[in-house]
Amino acid sequence: MQEQLELTLPNQQCAVARLQDQLEAFARERQLAPRVLHDLQLALEEHLTNVITHGYEDQLPHAIHIRLRLQGAEVQVEVEDDGRPFNPLEHPAPDLSLPLADRPIGGLGIHMMRKALDGMEYRRAAGKNHLLLIKRL
């Protein structure tokens, strides 16, 4: 059975939906818990939307590489893009203590990634962002 999944996406939002379909098929085949699939899908949706929407200074096509592997008791997904440097770990957490009416509408995506995942690691190398998403099984 397949232990890893490698994909290259164009920097277009519609490609994210195709990735999510493939992730669902992979999770079904590997019998991953629905919660694990949900949390990975949510984190990937948030991160890829950020990369595609804010990551590029030009209008050219770019490739985003995704490598997912089952490693012991966790799933690791590495996302590599050649957009501007962007480390989500440096993003401040939103103030959730504010009443609903005063709460800013932005900044929730990265907060959701932090909550959904068990870990994230970021490095910038050779002009590329590498973000590792870690989810325990």
Binding site: Q13, C14, Q20, R35, H38, L42, E45, L96, L108
Partner: protein, 99 residues
């Protein structure tokens, strides 16, 4: 994502299924704006069949929840799936859920 609409009087139920992703959030906003334009007073966003809710979808819910509340109308989430309920709780927005 698909949206099914059920109208009864001045209220509308939008039933969303599958992934409420970025494009899904846009579709939801279009449906909400159309309902507001038609004078709908109460909008129930039924998320029983939603497998996930991304931050863009959450922003649409929050924005129109506030906007309609100011006008004395309402937009709330009804019957969230366990995944959506977890997303609403992790972001501190349980107030969006109908009680």
């Amino acid at each position: 994502m698909t949206i099914e609409k059920k109208i009864s009087g001045d209220s509308l139920e939008l039933m969303l299924s599958d992934r409420v992703d970025g494009p899904g959030a846009n579709d939801l906003e279009v449906a909400v704006l159309a309902a507001i334009k038609q004078g709908t007073k109460e909008i129930y966003v039924n998320l029983a069949q939603a497998t996930f809710l991304c931050s863009a979808g959450l922003r649409v819910l929050l924005q129109y929840h506030r906007q309609l509340k100011q006008k004395g109308c309402k937009l709330v989430v009804s019957r969230p799936s366990p995944e959506v309920l977890a997303a609403l709780e992790m972001t501190g927005f349980p107030e969006l859920i109908e009680r």
